[in-house]
Amino acid sequence: MNINIGQKLTVGFSILLLFMGIISISSYLSLNGMREATDLVHSRVNASAAMNRLRHKMEESLSANAFAIAGDIEEKVVFDLKIKSMEDIFDVAAKYDLGEMDVLLNGVRSQYIEIQEKTNLLYRIAEEEEDKFDSDPVSELVIEIEEIQISMIENMKGLALFLEDWITLAVSQAEITRSRGVFITGGLSIIAILFSMTAAFGLTRDITLPVRSLVAATQEVAGGNLEVRIENSRHDEIGELNQSFNKMTDQLHAVHLQVTRVNKELEAFSYSVSHDLRAPLRRIDGFSQALLEDYAEILDDEGKDYIRRVIHSTRDMTKLIEDLLTLSRASQGDLHLESVQLSDMVESILSELRDTIPERPIESTVEKGIVATGDERLLRALMTNLLSNAWKYTGKEPQAKIEFGTIEQNGKVAYFIRDNGAGFSMSYADKLFVPFQRLHTSEEFEGTGIGLATVQRIVNRHGGDIWAESALEKGATFYFTL
C-alpha cells in the first residue's frame, strides 16, 4: 500500500471527525425529538385541562339551565353568563390539535348552541304565553333539552377518556424517542471510541516497530558493523528513513573500505621506504668503514675525520628512519590487547640500557607487579621511548635516578616515569609531543624529535592520555593512562 504515515493520520483523524459530526447531529436530532415529544405531552396535558374545565363549566351551566327552565329568571341570567364564558373555553380548546376528536368537540359545541337556542325559544314561548312554563310546547322543549344535555355529558365523558389515552400515548412516544436517542448516540460513541483505540494502537505499532529496528541497526553500525542493512518494503516516511539509513551505511562502508585500502597502501609505502632507504645507508656506512680500515695509511687525519663524519651522519639518518618506522607502526595495524607485565618490561628495558654503558651508575626504583592491558609490542615501544629519554636526559647527572610507578588520577590508574635529569620549562609543554619538535640541540642531547610523538600516538590508540610535569634542571615526570 502506498499510504504514508501522514496520510494514515489524516484519514484516521478525518474518520474520527466524521464520527463526532454524526454523533453531534444524532444528539441534536434526538434532543429535538425529545423536546417535541415533551411539548406534545405538555400541549395534551393543557388540552386535557381545558377540556376538564369545559366539562366543569358545562355541568355548572347545565344545572343553572335546569333552574332556568323551571322559570327562575335569575338562573337564566346565570346560565347566559356561563354560556358566555364557555364560548371562551371553546375558543381555547379549538386552539389544540385534537385530531379526530375535534369533530366530537365541535359536535358538543353545536349541541350546546342547540340547547341555548332551545332555551331562548322556550323563554320566548313562555313570554308569549305570559310566563306559562308548563304549557305543552314548553314541556316538549324541556324534554328535548334534557336529552341533548345527557348526550352532551356522555360525549364529554368520552372526550375525557380519549384525552387520557391521548396523553398516555404521547408520554410513551416521548419515552421511545428518548431511548432511541440514548441508544443511537451511545452506540455511535462506543463505535467511535473503539475505532480510535484500534487506529491509535495500529499506528503506534506501525511507527514504533520499524523505529525500534532502526535504532537496533544504528547501534550495530555504531558498534562497528558496517554490513548491517534494513529490509525495506515500505513506501512511507519510515521507508524513506530506512532507505536513507541503508544509503548512509553503504556510503560509510565504501569510505571505510577506501580508508582501509589507502592505509594498506601507506603501510606498503612506508615498508618500501624504510627498506629502500636503509639499504643504501648500510652501503655508505660499509664502504666508509672499509675506507677507514683498508686505506688508513694513505689518508691523512683530516680525510679520516671527514669519513668519520660521513659514518656519523649515516648513523643519525638510520636512527631517524628507525624512529619514523616505529611511529608509522604505532599508528597502523590492529591492537592485540592482552595483559602486559609492565614492571617486568621496565626492568628488562632498563637492563638493556645499562648494557649500553655498563659503567654508568644509575639508581632505579620500579614498583612491583604492575599489570596493564594493551598491545605488548606497542607498550614496549612506549616504555622504551620514555625510559630511553629518562636515561638520556640524566646523562649529565652524577647521581641519576629513574623511577617507575603508578598514581590514581580521577579514579583511573596513571603510570609514571620520573627522572632527576635536565627537565624542561613547562612553557614548552605544548611542544613536547609534536613530531620533530626538540627542546634541546643535538650537541646537548641527541635525538630525532619523533620519540614522544610516537609515545603519544601509542597512548591515544589505547584511548589514554599523556602529560608531563617538569622544571629546568629539576627532572621530568611523564604520566600516562591507558
Binding site: R278, L281, R282, D285, G286, F287, Q289, A290, T318
Partner: protein, 153 residues
Amino acid sequence: METDDKTILLVDDSEDDVALTQRALKKNNIGNRMFVARDGREALDYLFGRGDDEGDKDNNNKRRRMPSVIFLDINMPKMNGFEVLKRIRADERTRLLPVLILTTSDEEKDLREGYRLGANSYICKPLDFSQFCEAVKLMGVYWLMLNEFPSGI
C-alpha cells in the same frame, strides 16, 4: 680453517651488498669458496642447471657442486627470495639444503613468511658495518664449521 671443501651461494641483486658481504667474509677468512647469483633466476640455474629458456648455453658449466649453505636476499627483481626458497624446498635435490635469509627487512610478516617457507635461519643485516662483519663471522663459523649435515645433499 677447514672450509675449503665447503661453498656458499650468495643470492643478492646489489653489487654493493655483494662487495660488502664478500669483504666481511674475506676479513673472516671464509671468502675463498663463494658463488654469487644476481637474482632468483640465476640462483635456480646455478642449483638445477636449467637455463635453456634464457638461451644461455654456458649455463650448465656454471653449475658446479651443491653449496653447503645459501645466503638469500628477499627483495630482488624477476624472482624474489621467497619464490626461490619455495622452489628450493619443492625440489628433491635441494629440499634439505640450509638456507639463511639475509636481508635488511625486519618486518614481522617477512620473518613469518621466511620461516613458513622453510628457511633455516633469518638474519637481519645490521646497519652498522662492524656489527655486520661480526654477524658474517658468526654465520661462517656456525654454518661452515660447527653445523653438521648428512652427506650427499
